[in-house]
Symmetry: C2
Subunit: 144 residues, 2 copies
Amino acid sequence: MASGYPPSMLSRVSFVLGKLHLRCLERESGELGALGIDVKQHAVLSVLADEGPMTQQELGQRLGIDRTTIVTVVDGLDRAGLLERRRSPTDRRAHLLTLTPAGRHTQQQGQHRVADAERALLGTLDETERRTLIDLLSRALDGR
Amino acid sequence: MASGYPPSMLSRVSFVLGKLHLRCLERESGELGALGIDVKQHAVLSVLADEGPMTQQELGQRLGIDRTTIVTVVDGLDRAGLLERRRSPTDRRAHLLTLTPAGRHTQQQGQHRVADAERALLGTLDETERRTLIDLLSRALDGR
DNA sequence: TATTGTTATACTCTATAACTATA
DNA sequence: TATAGTTATAGAGTATAACAATA
């Protein structure tokens, strides 16, 4: 099970974060690919499921993604019928992204698959350690 | 200090790993940039400092980087006089990468700066939590 | 004038294929 | 035949600049 990485690299935060992130993406991509979406698209579905309809601009700010990048992600979800771009009644420039029933369903299926992927990724840790890790990571990112 | 990321995203391993990794790279790049090297180059210097001379092939395997990617990284270090490409006495195809005194010095300076960057990155955690986080991350990656 | 969504474009990072010199 | 290093190239991923519609 040993990875073969140099011991000194394993205490390097950027190195470990990068490698683990890569492995995580591979697993989640595999799981979500079976549903016809990628990791970023599932993140979009999840934010809309949690917070309701919002504009592409708002969505990009939430996820820390440029609005030009959002376009392509949303294009795919739109074509797949998982969300709709509705004109905002208060601002005709903006699209109010709204989940379809299919989008809500796919989001939930994806949620389970992502959870499986994460559990497998962190398989060498027990349940308590996994919770601790996620807690520390999110606090490091968010400042509580 | 709150990041503004959606709460549901903060429990998503791939999301948190990715964002934190990005932030880490930005900080470390800033610190190491003052020494004229980037994050990957400092990783190369560190492996050579820890394990002694090795070929580009071996280095790539250690770091999980393709040998074609190694070329550019080593080119920069070579031009900066931080390492030398010596012909292997046993295999004239291979380059034995060997640190120069300047390379060893830069590696050590970089080590301190990287440590500073990591401490700042994880500033919302206390010392015990930082150690726990790094331990859990490295064990998740390496399988102990 | 400023902003939303969009497109075209460029830049970074990384890997694949093909070459050379050795083995 | 196979391997180490190299080069050229192509593919992701993401950002910047400019445009149309609207505010």
